[in-house]
């Protein structure tokens, strides 16, 4: 392909000339159109400019209806500006500006019928609303409304919506989560949620995220900080990122708070999930980085107790030499693992209880530069630890 063709004049705009397009980079692909999922994403790109490109092949029918947003596939441009014309896609063919015809009688009936609240939802969210209810669906829609494709940490609103029904079912019917103290979580602005950690698999984090999403107004998605171990696991790292969880580097943590997010941390780290049954609900040593970031970002810390997680997969023994040999954080022996294979790792249907404590506003007493003082940071982390332990002891 000639590179001259690839580079249009800097002052030109798409559609000004064929030189901007170059030859077809996808021409050599055989078989079904691999770009089919992205056809709809195209339809959502700022309509005017893209329609100008399409217009070269012929006149475009003026838009007659609001954008049809069925089957929108995610992509940076997918959730951008609403498209001006309704478009229909059939196996890789995009029909620009030709809205599907609706019988007149049906159109009139639709116009005169009272609008059910569900009709305001996007089509994909209507399906979600039928599964989990309208309120959670609306909350998810609100979370994704400001994200265009993927956010800077990999969160995809679409992936979140797809994963949500499973975790909602776990929240409602499997773990039967009860929670209290939501008023202690600030409605907006940066906040660090510091919770105890337990259970072999991090369902405590998932339940805390779902709980905050369902009980905060406006809805907030807690961004849980993951151990780097999880970030290196195939598939897991992608899934966690797409549903909003972030690997705990200093830059990530700092930027999340700068963005005004609610950051969920488990200061015990990996030590929390490998507690044996004799250490249930006894907090392990706290990492202190979250206090540094909270001080720098002037964010309150809300202590949280998650009860139930330590009972979901009680560890009888941790075979540490085996864990070291396998390169795993733990090699647990539980009543069901390894006797029942991987199925034995699944959590027992214990009842969860989540309690949010009074926010600790260290930033009101200490300056941002206090984050540089290890003694202060350690002391404040100790205060958070005691606050979480009190919550656990008070609600068990």
């Amino acid at each position: 392909m000639s590179s001259d063709e690839q580079l249009p004049d800097p002052t030109s705009r798409p559609g000004d000339g064929d030189s901007a397009l170059g030859s077809d980079p996808f021409a050599d692909w055989g078989g079904p159109d691999p770009l089919a999922p992205w056809l709809d994403a195209l339809d959502r790109i700022a309509a005017g400019e893209i329609l100008a490109v399409a217009a070269e092949s012929g006149p475009v029918t003026p838009p007659r209806e609001p954008a049809a947003i069925d089957e929108i596939d995610e992509g940076p441009a997918a959730l951008a500006a609403p498209s001006a014309g309704a478009r229909t896609r059939r196996r890789g063919v995009s029909l620009v500006g030709k809205p599907a015809r609706t019988p007149r009688r049906k159109r009139e009936a639709a116009e005169t019928a009272p609008r059910a609240p569900e009709r305001d939802l996007l089509p994909e969210l209507r399906t979600l609303a039928r599964i989990v209810g309208e309120d959670p669906a609306r909350r998810l829609a609100a979370i994704g409304s400001h994200i265009d494709g993927w956010d800077r940490f990999g969160l995809s609103p679409r992936a979140l919506q797809q994963a949500f029904p499973l975790f909602y079912a776990l929240y409602r019917h499997y773990f039967r989560v009860r929670s209290e103290g939501h008023a202690n979580v600030p409605v907006t602005g940066p906040v660090v949620l510091a919770a105890n950690h337990g259970g072999l698999l991090p369902f405590d984090g998932a339940m805390a995220v779902v709980d905050l999403l369902l009980h905060s107004e406006p809805p907030r998605l807690a961004r849980a900080i993951l151990d780097r171990f999880a970030g290196a696991l195939p598939w897991i790292n992608v899934f966690m990122a797409r549903v909003g969880q972030v690997v705990g580097t200093h830059e990530n943590f700092s930027r999340l708070l700068d963005d005004g997010e609610a950051v969920l941390v488990f200061p015990e780290g990996i030590d929390g999930i490998r507690k044996t049954i004799t250490q249930r609900y006894r907090l392990q040593r706290f990492h202190v980085g979250f206090v540094e970031h909270a001080l720098r970002a002037r964010a309150p810390i809300v202590p949280m107790a998650i009860l139930g997680s330590d009972d979901q997969a009680p560890i009888l023994f941790d075979v540490k030499p085996l864990a070291r040999w396998l390169g795993l954080p733990t090699a647990p022996i539980t009543p069901t693992f390894p006797w029942f294979g991987p199925v034995g790792l699944l959590p027992y249907p214990v009842r969860y209880r989540i309690v949010y404590g009074e926010p600790l506003c260290f930033h009101e007493r200490f300056s941002a530069s206090s984050a540089e003082d290890p003694a202060i940071v350690r002391a404040l982390a100790g205060q958070v630890r005691r606050a979480v332990q009190r919550l656990i002891d008070g609600h068990r």
Partner: protein, 333 residues
């Protein structure tokens, strides 16, 4: 600014920068250096007895050629005050991989920095670097600021090591008073039609690529037009230091591969390493592997916004062309 010298102006990104400089009223003269014949795109800029654009053909990695150019009376007369260092492609955009030429990148950076320091009239140097120099922690997305650590692991693939070497070279000269040095760290640069620059896996010709199974790292992208605007903003602001420059879009590698016509073939990690070793033994070139294919990144561009006034102007996505095919387009936001 009086005159600007642009290296590798015959390559797509260099051409883009030259074109934008030509439209900039503050730039009186442009010296475009290239290793090949002058691109046809420059023909219309080189009309008249004393055109604003002068094209010089020279080997950028040859010390004698570069030194003679900088000492020449001709260059002195053109009153060059700024050098825009555009590094060579790791692979030729129009041909097969040219891995053998990659080490020349560090040599070129050293040569042009040295000559810019020595030259009487040159006051500033804007170098384009790569954002793939950062050390990536495990995770689908690492948010990276300019002060994030570089990847100094000795096991870094050669294709990235040259970027890291030249990055450190430019950083070492930033505290000097003689020359203002600004380094723009760029993520994957894409342009209309599917052109890709900098990403070690995607740059070069279209076609399938092997990647590790179970990973889909987040990739920041920037339109080539935005890169040219960032260069112009840096020249105008007279800023020094390191700046992350990125567009608005962040896309997973699999999507970026589809967008740019490079199908990704996921393969289990051990098999991928085996395939890489086999390809090297068979003389098929070095297969790229490393954290970059597993762990993603996003760039913090707040410093560039504050000090350079840079804000991405173009959105990147698929657009339907007149013939009905979908192609990658950079669209004014």
């Amino acid at each position: 600014m009086a005159g600007v010298l642009v290296t590798h102006a015959d390559q797509p990104l260099g051409r883009r920068i030259v074109k934008l400089l030509w439209h900039d009223a503050d730039t009186s003269r442009i010296v475009a250096l290239g290793e090949g014949p002058p691109p046809r795109a420059f023909d219309r800029f080189r009309i008249g007895a004393a055109p604003r654009l002068v094209y010089e053909q020279l080997d950028h990695a040859r010390q004698r050629s570069v030194a003679e150019l900088f000492r020449s009376r001709r260059l002195r007369d053109l009153d060059i005050q700024a050098v825009v260092y555009v590094p060579r492609h790791g692979t030729s955009p129009e041909g097969p991989p040219v891995v053998a030429r990659v080490p020349a990148r560090t040599a070129e950076a050293r040569l042009f920095l040295h000559q810019a320091l020595e030259h009487r009239s040159v006051r500033s140097l804007v170098a384009l670097g790569s954002a793939f120099v950062y050390k990536l922690a495990p995770g689908n997305a690492n948010h990276l600021v300019e002060d994030s650590p570089l990847d100094l692991d000795p096991a870094v693939p050669a294709a990235l090591r040259t970027w890291i070497d030249s990055d450190m070279l430019f950083q070492a000269e930033m505290s000097g008073r003689r020359l203002r040095v600004a380094l723009l760290r760029l993520p994957t640069v894409v342009a209309s039609g599917g052109y890709v620059y900098l990403h070690p896996l995607l740059e070069g010709t279209g076609g399938p690529r092997l990647c590790p199974l179970g990973f889909d790292p987040l990739c920041p992208v920037v339109a080539d037009k935005d890169v040219a605007h960032a260069v112009l903003a840096t020249l105008a602001s007279r800023a020094t230091g390191v700046f992350n420059v990125a567009g608005r879009e962040l896309v997973p590698l699999s999507v970026l591969g589809r967008w740019t016509g490079r199908a990704l073939l996921p393969m289990p990690g051990p098999l991928l390493r085996l395939a890489g070793r086999s390809a090297a033994r068979l003389g098929l070139g070095e297969a790229f592997d490393g954290p970059l294919l597993r762990f993603g990144m996003s760039l913090d561009t707040r410093r560039a916004a504050a000090e350079l006034g840079f804000a991405p102007r173009y959105r990147i996505g698929l657009a339907r062309a007149g013939d009905g095919a979908l192609r990658l387009e950079a669209v004014a936001a």
